[in-house]
């Protein structure tokens, strides 16, 4: 029986080239018409050391990891024990290892996999310039039924310029691998991909966020590198200039957030990307963005916390600081992308929200969204483009912080003639003049709250799926969505009715919309990847959730897996 999705891990130390192999496999599979996903895991060594490419390929869009891996190809066992828990096995999995590296590690025994020995190193040695990773690739392609031609095409492009021998060696490696595969039985190939497919993209969540920012109108970025957000910046750096924008590397995050304030004050939509420690350094100035009503977007690619924590692994534990990390009463907007591909939509929408509301927006992405690469259908065009309300006329009566009905006040931009104003972090009257008077403080606090709470966020506030009238609701945010969606589908396949509500808008808590979306729920299962159930607590603070609430959360570094959620849903 053919499969609609297969999960494959390639692991090895140092020079084994697992990442290149994984990337080639993903690309080739994409060319062949499959969807797919690839993540990476690395040991603590800065360079070399153990590493693994974690792939999932499918005939349908796959943007979340499966419960386990169907195929593990181990060129060696390096410090496998250190991250074996990132590579659980599925029932019936096959582990393919080099006999020279000794026995399969004990940690794999409980899963009782089918172990096959393939002398990768010997096979590679037998080829002039041969490499183990090519042997592995050939083997995998054969096992899953991926036409080698797609791999060869990919390798030809990649090795162009390296001479004919290099390509020949790779081809020979693939062949050798395919040969070794012949002896392996019991691995079902992938079903054929949909032939009527449209354009597809290959991108990471961090690249998608970068593109979303630019499409939303961003033309300025100032930033300080930090894992796992750096690739947002590294994508923006060469791309912003193409659209007339720029990226500036700063001395620290205090500088980057404040450069954004300056650029945005000048009328240029602006973004930065960071992670927990950097976000913490930005909160004082985010408060200034709130008080001075200066729009900007911070893409916070979450990693394991607290403190330096686990920089290279994912977690959804920065919700608290994103929502509540500013001093004083400082209403602003927090959003979260629901998948790798959705990093594009959510970031673009966030630029639109920031510009429309003249407020800072924090986008809560995370390492697993940001650094995994997915094959997705070409994203639909997104209507949301940042537009700032500017004054129609500018004269002495101009009030920068005018008390409008919707709380949004026209913002004059430097260069506009007729009046001016001073953007102010002190409490102020509608002109922006500092004042400690009670009435001004109350009016401005109310105005700033009104504009973000009263805004019509429209349909993008959440994504819903499943059975609209089901009494079990799985409620997710950000990266907990894909595993929960898959879990829901599995449970629905068992005949249960379940619906999914995946929130893109985290703050302000969209109480009315959530209430409507949860209507009729008897069980609300709130799924998130952190230790204290931050989203569940946020919701509880602001509304009464219907029925019984089931907080389902645990910290990283392991990704949430559909199976854990299925187990919970079955128990309801």
């Amino acid at each position: 029986m053919a499969h609609t999705s297969v999960s494959i891990a390639l692991t090895g130390s140092g020079g084994a080239g697992v990442m290149t192999a994984g990337q080639s496999l993903l690309d080739a599979a994409a060319k062949a018409g499959f969807y797919g996903l690839m993540g990476r895991t690395l040991g603590p060594q800065i360079r070399g050391g153990e590493s693994a490419a974690l792939l999932r390929l499918g005939t349908h869009p796959v943007q979340g990891t499966d419960d386990g891996y169907d195929i593990i190809v181990a060129f060696d066992w390096g410090n496998f024990a250190r991250f074996h828990d990132e590579m659980p096995l599925n029932p019936g999995s096959v582990v393919i290892a080099d006999p020279h590296n000794g026995a399969v590690p004990d940690v794999l025994a409980p899963s009782n996999p089918h172990v096959v020995m393939v002398p990768f190193h010997d096979l590679a040695k037998g080829i002039q310039g041969g490499r183990v990773n090519m042997v592995g690739l050939g083997l995998i392609a054969a096992l899953i039924g991926l036409d080698q031609a797609f791999l060869i095409e990919r390798l030809s492009r990649q090795l162009a310029g390296k001479g004919a021998e290099a390509l020949a060696a790779s081809k020979a490696g693939l062949e050798a691998g395919a040969g070794a595969a012949a002896a392996i039985t019991g691995v079902a190939p992938l079903s054929a991909p949909d032939p009527a497919r449209g354009e597809r993209w290959s991108l990471t969540g961090n690249e998608a966020a970068g593109l979303g920012a630019i499409q939303g109108g961003v033309r300025f970025c100032a930033a300080y590198p930090i894992t796992p957000a750096t690739d947002v910046l590294e994508w923006l750096a060469p791309n912003l200039p193409k659209v007339g924008g720029m990226l500036v590397q700063c001395e620290d995050e205090l500088a980057s957030i404040n450069m954004l304030l300056g650029a945005s004050f000048g009328g240029t939509p602006s973004v930065t990307a960071t992670s927990g420690p950097g976000l913490a350094l930005m909160t004082e100035s985010l408060g200034l963005a709130v008080a001075s009503e200066t729009p900007l977007v911070v893409v916070n690619v979450q990693r394991g916390g607290p403190s330096t924590g686990i920089p290279t692994k994912s977690e959804q534990s920065d919700l608290n600081i994103a929502v509540h990390g500013l001093h004083g009463d400082a209403p602003h907007v927090v959003t979260a992308p629901l998948s790798i591909g959705d990093c594009l939509f959510t970031t673009q929408w966030s630029v639109y929200l920031a510009e429309s509301l003249q407020t800072p927006v924090i986008v809560l992405s995370d390492q697993v969204l940001g650094q995994s690469r997915a094959i997705i259908d070409r994203p639909a065009d997104i209507a949301f483009i940042g537009r700032r309300r500017v004054p129609e006329t500018l004269d002495a009566s101009y009030r920068r912080y005018e008390l409008t009905a919707d709380g949004i006040s026209p913002m004059a931009l430097p260069g506009m003639e007729g009046a001016s104003y001073t953007a102010e972090g002190l409490e102020h009257n509608p002109f922006g003049h500092p004042s400690t008077q009670t009435n001004f403080h109350e009016e401005q606090l109310a105005k700033r709250r009104r504009k973000v709470e009263g805004f019509d966020y429209g349909d993008p506030w959440a994504m819903t799926a499943g059975d609209p009238d089901a009494d079990i609701v799985v409620l997710t945010w950000g990266s907990s969505t894909e595993p929960a969606r898959e879990a829901m589908e599995r449970v629905r396949a068992e005949g249960r009715r379940v619906r999914l509500v995946a929130a893109r808008l985290i703050a302000p808590v969209p109480v009315d919309r959530l209430t409507a979306a949860l209507e009729g729920a008897r069980h609300v299962v709130v799924v998130e990847q952190n230790h204290s159930g931050q989203y569940c607590n946020l919701l509880r603070a602001h509304m009464d959730l219907p029925g019984t609430v089931h907080p389902l959360h645990r910290p990283g570094p392991l990704p949430l897996r559909p199976g854990e959620i299925v187990d919970h849903l079955r128990g309801l």
Binding site: G244, M259, F265, S420, T422, H433
Partner: protein, 279 residues
Amino acid sequence: MDVPLEETPVYKVKSYKSDLKPIWCPGCGDFSVLSAIMRALTELQLPPHQVSLVSGIGCSSRLPAYSTLYGFHSVHGRALPVASGLKLSRPDLTVLAVGGDGDGFSIGGNHFIHACRRNVDMTYIVMDNSVYGMTKGQASPTTDPEWPGSKLTPDGPGVAAFKPLEMALSAGATFIARAFSGDPLEVARQICEGIQHPGFSFVHVLSPCVTYRPEQKTWRERVHEGFPEPTDDRREAFLRLLDDDAFSTGILYKGRTGAFQPHAEATTRAVALGDQFVI
């Protein structure tokens, strides 16, 4: 000053002045700096709406609201990155940053040295009174180590005073000047030249705090024209500073420089950027 006044100037000093009454103490040096800035802008006939004035927090940082320029009263220590972001994204504007010695050299010290290196085309005016005026009289980086006037450091701060000009020069600034607020014409002259200098210009203004450092009234006697002409030689500038008593005024150094300004010219439509992801 090498900028000829137009015959009938369009902008007068009062074009740059707002109605807001400064909160400063009578006699505060910052009043003169405010008027010197306006004088410099008048001199250069810069349209107020094309000038922007960014500050941090402190008595001196209250300055923007007293002007008709586009102002940004940001948070403590962050005037320079705000100003840099503005100027980089809006090179058409004239951008000034202002603030105090605490704002600029204490909490904002890192931005100061990196702004000197980065050399964005803007002018930074520090009103140095060797004290935190706004928080009622604590030692700042430029305070004498023995000064016993603050309850926070009753035996004196005990730390060698920060040398703003030396620091700026070491950090790579290409325009460095010092003036005394009691000589607003000189302050204005330096600001004019700073604005015209292509790159980061640092104007260090000794601006007495009459309330917490009344003894600074003697500054008038202590200042002297130590840098009659700018040098464009870094070595020479260092040598001058090694002999400086912290009261030499004038333009110390004007280096040859290309301002930092990343090229930004649209060649592609935003939506077309997605093409690079097509399989």
